[in-house]
Symmetry: C2
Subunit: 365 residues, 2 copies
DNA sequence: CTGTTAGCGCTTTCAA
DNA sequence: TTGAAAGCGCTAACAG
């Protein structure tokens, strides 16, 4: 591997000059600059970022902790973050907690060891181990997503989970539904708890009772949605509508209903959170509340880069709660006894039929 | 950040002893060992892997170059690779070429600069820039996926793309189709070329002519599939069946047909490559030829780790071509004049109705 | 404008 | 069993 020394020798200059050229400080003369550029090409030199990092005291690596890399939500987020990071000379280490929040602390220790310049963190929960670790160890700049981390001087980017679920519940209520089920993630997983609480509050505000047996807290995976929905749909007093707390659960629930021979929305109405790339092709098209992933990802990485560049403690903790958006599909039935054919959606964001490609782009960029 | 020096001072020993304890060389006495362990805990020491990497000449980072991180195919691959890598003490840097093969060389240079221990590389094409770079620069151990890189002493993991497309064509031919279109990726993109050639060969073997105007080489993105299919379907002599060279194209094409008011499979038959997580919920369910992603990812990272641990040049280049599998959906119509209702699928792999969750797992793990 | 040099934190000889 | 010291490749004073 060619080093800066080789370049210097090939160009007949000192390593300081090579370094200066590499870092753009204009202290090098035209002639030398040209010879150095040639030498770099000739010896196939690529700067050793490890040595540079050691010298500088920090790397140009950014750690990104996602809950589940196979969720298209994560993929879209990673893509956005990576794009901005690379444009700024940083690389991204993606760490996948694989749905298990207890893995977060060890992932962070790993990242600490890599001396990453900053971390974009979905903490997933507020486990004791995580809190303890964060309190006891120094951390690089951090931007949290999905869940706030109180007591840590970091930024937070998220959406209002309660409001999001509320939009879903209110939509269903307006369609005449009263017996509404909720499928959410496991207890202790932050967004799952928030969405659960939003559900309870919205139901109460609508004057409806929450049947505890119609609330499942099984997990964010497709299996969970499939099984929980199956259990509810095979009961005598099955719900008329199901709210799913994420995209994967919703798809699992839909599959379960179809497998059991139910029609959607004829027999069961279904509404979920988060967009999926091919939502336009899933039949029936799901009514959803989505998150502006690209905007969120861009803000998160921008804030992180600011923090990395700013002197320690110069930036006060910031937070931005994005507005979720509603997109009506045809997975929910109007079951009011006598009523106009269709109520207006609760949000201004229209859902015209558009090709999946553009919908995908809307989600991914 | 505490360094090895701080630990040494706190323990009243030299840094050499601390290092020895950290690395398990048993040259340190009991007493010293105990004091060092305490000191490490007391100062909250985490080894600086950057310094260690500089000293050792290599990092515990693995670079992974994917074609398009938003393609669920990539997500599943990353997940598998990362899981195995972490279990072996490595971290993964994910680099996204974002569909643009000309970005691969610079990505590799980036990774070289990071002094990654190895690279899992989807070269995407065999561009001059890439070949030149690979010939002229030293590279860490490499395992290529999707496309072989001749002349490089590395391993290769892929599938037989021609055979995969052939399965699709033969399936359609058996259903009585003769006017079959192909939507593939751009010219120069390896898998796209291979799949195109497989298509031509399979058509010839079936005694069918390839209508050049029914072959699109627009790109692997959903937009491409949408537009190309739209153009073909609005012609007078539209095809009776379309073969899509990847999952995203297939979904775009399906959306396009539906938007134009065509029924699938009544008006148009559609078959594609690669599974998608929610394939069970897309209506109609697509007939596809898939790749055993998890197996491929696991082999790739295992081979890479072997190469990283082996002395230079100790392992001869290996390659493994996985068998693609066929999974029948109901997106293809039998248009033979008088015939039995349905032909047997060309492969033994059954496609029973299964919940998306398990299908997802089948794809992702 | 250019070169010399002191470290960044670590591992690893080599002496003691 | 221990410690001193060299040096991985780079950047940034500082000296010329």
């Amino acid at each position: 591997m060619a080093t800066i020394k080789d370049v210097a020798k090939a160009a007949g200059v000192s390593i300081a000059s090579v370094s200066a050229v590499l870092n753009g400080s204009g202290r090098v003369g035209e002639g030398a600059r040209g010879r150095i550029a040639n030498a770099i090409e000739a010896v196939g030199y690529a700067p050793n970022t490890i040595a540079r990092s050691l010298r500088l005291g920090h790397s140009h690596l950014i750690g990104m902790v996602v809950g589940d890399i196979t969720n298209p939500f994560s993929g879209a987020l990673v893509r956005t973050v990576e794009k901005v990071a690379i444009a700024n000379g940083f690389s991204v280490i993606v760490s996948n907690a694989d749905g298990d929040e207890t893995r977060v602390p060890e992932i962070i220790d790993q990242l600490r060891g890599q001396h990453v310049a900053g971390i974009i963190l979905n903490p997933m929960s507020r486990s004791d181990a995580l809190v303890k670790q964060i309190e006891s160890r120094p951390l690089p700049p951090v931007v949290t997503m999905d869940q706030k981390l109180p007591g840590l001087a970091c930024d937070y980017v998220g959406i209002d989970n309660r409001a999001a679920i509320r939009m879903l519940v209110e939509y269903l209520v307006r369609l005449g539904h009263t017996r509404i089920a909720l499928l959410s993630g496991r207890v202790g997983r932050w967004t799952a708890d928030e969405r659960y609480e939003g559900f309870v509050a919205a139901m109460a505000d609508a004057g409806l009772v929450v049947d505890p047996s119609l609330v499942a807290r099984a997990g964010y995976e497709g299996e969970s949605g499939y099984e929980a929905a199956g259990a509810m749909m095979t009961r005598q007093d099955r719900p008329s509508a199901i709210v799913a707390a994420n995209n994967i659960i919703a798809l699992g629930a839909l599959q379960s209903c179809l497998d059991l021979g139910f029609q959607c929305p004829a027999d069961i109405s279904l509404a979920g959170m988060d967009d999926v790339p091919w939502s336009g092709l899933v039949r029936p098209k799901l009514s959803i509340v989505g998150q502006p992933i690209a905007d969120m990802g861009e803000l998160a990485i921008s804030w992180l880069l600011e923090r990395i560049r700013a002197p320690d403690g110069a930036i006060a903790p910031r937070e931005r709660i994005f507005r979720p958006f509603f997109a009506a599909g045809d997975s929910c039935r109007d079951i009011r006894p006598a009523s106009p054919p269709s109520p207006p959606p609760p949000s201004s964001r229209p859902l015209s039929p558009r090709p999946i490609s553009s919908r995908r782009r809307a989600m991914a960029q």
